[in-house]
């Protein structure tokens, strides 16, 4: 650890980051007008932006103070927190690039260097960033370590392997066997042992010693944060729902990328309080909620505003999503007294690492408990584990629950895949069916 780097980091933390926040506040003096179809925006949005901006801003100064790790969204990051790694989530960063409608630019850089256009756009954006240094976040630190788990897809392993080779840095992979029926004792032992095997490597890379009590506290915090996130999502059972799922796509960022840190824990308490107040006061996220929808798959980041407005104008609100639920669903397995096995159960059974029977049952349960009237599935060419099986899931749900459903062919972050006319036609037809089914 360098004293100079530490002083610089402290100055930026105490003075630089607040100055940046003030500047952002100044720029936001004239907020964009809110369309009539929406209710009042969440006050927590401001705090969310502050937290994320601060995290990305301070990451520039992290090297020399903490070791930097690039981590996948489903990886058991709590272990890294015990070694004080400064974590960056390339998926989160790629979503940010996508939301700014810059995905195609970054993808083109990766494609120009030889990566296929058929690869996941999160990966292509990240590789484009790695090859060019471009980022809307100003600057991102180069990693000292890569940490991935194939519990969300095998793609992350291939992707991180490519980065590890390019940057010549270590990659730690947490192999999470796919749950075809249920986790076996062998699966749990395997994952638990892998986590313990990682400790000496993490000690070597970070230069820090592992303390079980520190790790247990982090785990406890992570567990509590995920529970709060789950409770926030539960609050959307209220009619009208206090948030839309498009809000939740944004508010998801801390649970994904700051999980295990006090800042995420504190943030969700603030959001929970606001959401609870809105429920008590009957304040809805859209001004006249007549229809309630479920979203399946990752967001279409470059069209979030378009989709939010399109549906809100038709009095339709997305009140739940398989995607946002993923960071709350398996938290119940975490147990501080049995950290390794419980982490194996938590991280091994998340939706994308679980069979489609499980997913179907989960979706049916969500549809019932959130009083859902219709379903929109995003079939994304970037994510095979999320998309392969959707046609049959849709068929099962429409047949068993008599629920209108539509599939949108698009991509998570590469806006070149979006076909405005085709999507519009499908959405209009879906809305007509939905209106007919509820009133017909």
């Amino acid at each position: 650890m360098s004293i100079r780097a530490e002083i610089k980091y402290k100055i930026m933390k105490d003075y630089g980051a607040p100055a940046l926040m003030a500047l952002q506040d100044f720029k936001r003096r004239k907020p964009r007008p809110i369309p009539e179809a929406f209710g009042p925006p969440l006050d927590s949005n401001k705090r969310l932006k502050e937290i994320l901006s601060r995290h990305y801003f301070l990451s520039r100064y992290a090297r020399g103070v903490n070791k930097v790790a690039w981590v996948t969204s489903g990886a058991p990051v709590e272990l890294l927190r015990a070694f004080d790694f400064y974590t960056i989530y390339p998926e989160n960063h790629s979503a940010l690039v996508g939301a700014k409608k810059q995905g195609a630019d970054y993808c083109s850089i990766a494609e120009g260097s030889g990566f296929s256009q058929d690869l996941c756009s999160y990966a292509r954006i990240d590789l484009g960033h790695m090859l060019s240094g471009k980022t809307p976040a100003g600057k991102l630190p180069k990693p000292d370590l890569l940490f991935c788990s194939n519990n969300i897809c095998q793609t992350v392993l291939y992707w991180y392997k490519a980065i590890a080779h390019e940057l010549n840095i270590p990659l730690i992979h947490f192999d999470a066997p796919f749950v075809t029926t249920e986790q076996t004792e062998a699966d749990i032992n395997y994952m638990a042992q892998q986590l313990q095997d990682m400790i000496p490597i993490l000690e070597r890379v970070s230069g820090r010693v592992f303390y079980l009590d520190v790790f247990e506290n982090i785990l406890k915090r992570s567990m509590e944060t995920s529970r709060t996130w789950g409770a926030i999502l539960d609050a959307m059972k209220a009619q009208p729902a206090p948030m839309t799922i498009f809000d939740a796509f944004g508010h998801l960022a801390p649970i994904v990328s700051l999980r295990g840190l006090p800042v995420a824990q504190d943030y969700y308490h603030i959001l929970m309080e606001e959401v609870d107040t809105r429920v008590t006061q009957g304040i809805g996220a859209i001004s006249d909620e007549r229809y309630r929808l479920i979203w399946d798959n990752i967001a279409i980041w470059y069209k979030v505003r378009f989709l939010a407005t399109f549906f809100a104008e038709r009095k339709m609100n997305f009140v739940t999503a398989t995607y946002t639920n993923a960071w709350a669903e398996t938290t119940g397995y975490l147990n501080v007294k049995d950290p390794w096995n419980s982490m194996a159960k938590t991280y091994g059974q998340i939706i994308l690492n679980n069979n489609l029977k499980h997913r179907l049952e989960l979706m049916k349960k969500m549809i019932k408990t959130y009083s859902v009237d219709g379903m929109v599935m995003h079939s994304t060419r970037s994510c095979k584990p999320y998309s392969v099986g959707q046609f049959d899931l849709r068929k099962a749900i429409t047949t068993d629950l008599d629920l209108p459903a539509v599939i949108l062919d698009a991509d998570i972050a590469d806006e070149r895949v979006w076909s405005e006319q085709q999507i519009h036609t499908r959405l209009e037809a879906f809305c007509e069916t939905l209106e007919g089914s509820k009133h017909g």
Binding site: S113, G114, F115, S116, D118, L119, C120, A123, N150, C153, Q154, T155, L157, Y158, W159, K161, A162, H165, H173, D175, P177, F178, T180, T184, A186, N189, Y190, Q193, Q194, D197, N355, L356, K357, L360, S379, R381, K384, P385, S387, V388, G389, Q390, F391, D392, L393, K395, A396, D409
Partner: protein
Amino acid sequence: MMIPNRKEYLKALANSGQKIMGVLPALYPRELLWAFDIHAAEIWDPPGEILHANAHLQTTICPIVKRSLEFILKEPDIINAGYLFPHTCDSLQNLGTQVKDLIGVSLPVYTFYNPKGSFNNTTTRYYRDILQNFQLSMEAVYGPLAPDKFLAACVLSHKIDSHLMAIQQARMTDHLSLNNAEYFKLMRAQEYLLPTDYLSLLEQVDILDQPGESPRARMMVSGILPPTPEILEFLDELGVSIVADDLLAGSRRIPKFPMDAPVSPLDYLTDRFFILPPCSTRGGDLDERLHHLSKHMNASQAQGILFDIVKFCEPELFDHRLLVKTLRGKNYPVLTLETELENHISGQDKTRIEAFTELLFEMVSP
């Protein structure tokens, strides 16, 4: 050397009462199936038009997955003991649960997880556990496993591996009088012949005492499946020999070096899995794969390499860029073709192959 037709052979086997399991790509403990008297008929690229699978899968899913599903949806009589989905990639992973849990087929569906990433003692122990769990799932249907049959199956597998290694070596050094089409037909016959029949076939292969005539040019091929028969025949016409391969359906399923004869089946199968060549689908190390490719390019004196990439195959596409970049850096000519496993060769691909082989010819006699 007569190699029976796949469809007719399997049909005759099924009619004779043989238990046949349809197995999807790529790595699975075939020896355990054999020990239960189950024949493994591998499903990689069944021919024919894709009609029904399109109702279940997106357009951006790889043709191996689509063709496999099309085959399964037809509920062919030749498969009577169920389907096995080894864990190979995201698409095959999901296809397994899609077929089992959503589409539903009349036969049982089994899965087999292959560990991913870098391997150590923890992985080795786990792989052994997976084998034992798979054995238990088979025993639940077919009764207790006979230890002597299990050992005999491993001995048979060991003999097949030994022959394949010798044949590969002979191929690299021109000690084999088979053209490209014949060679890969022989390699792929293991996908559907009974192991005893396949061993007999391998025993008939004539390995020459002295090197035969050298081809006009020598090439290595990398990818999932061998190039289509049309491409192989075209290369034969041009006088180019594929002298080594890095194919998932080929040498990536044969141990890197000879193993001792099996004594304990579980130990043997565990050891065998971990000495397979590096493979994208197992999340293998890129440096190790590069080293493996370079070694085989050198040993076979291949002048260039053909990457025959199955469309939308993520594991291969991620590794591809670095492999191409590094091999070009070593002055190896590289050609990449993308295949949807159709039974024809496009005019464009033909021209590209011709241009590529011209380059190889120039390297041989500048």
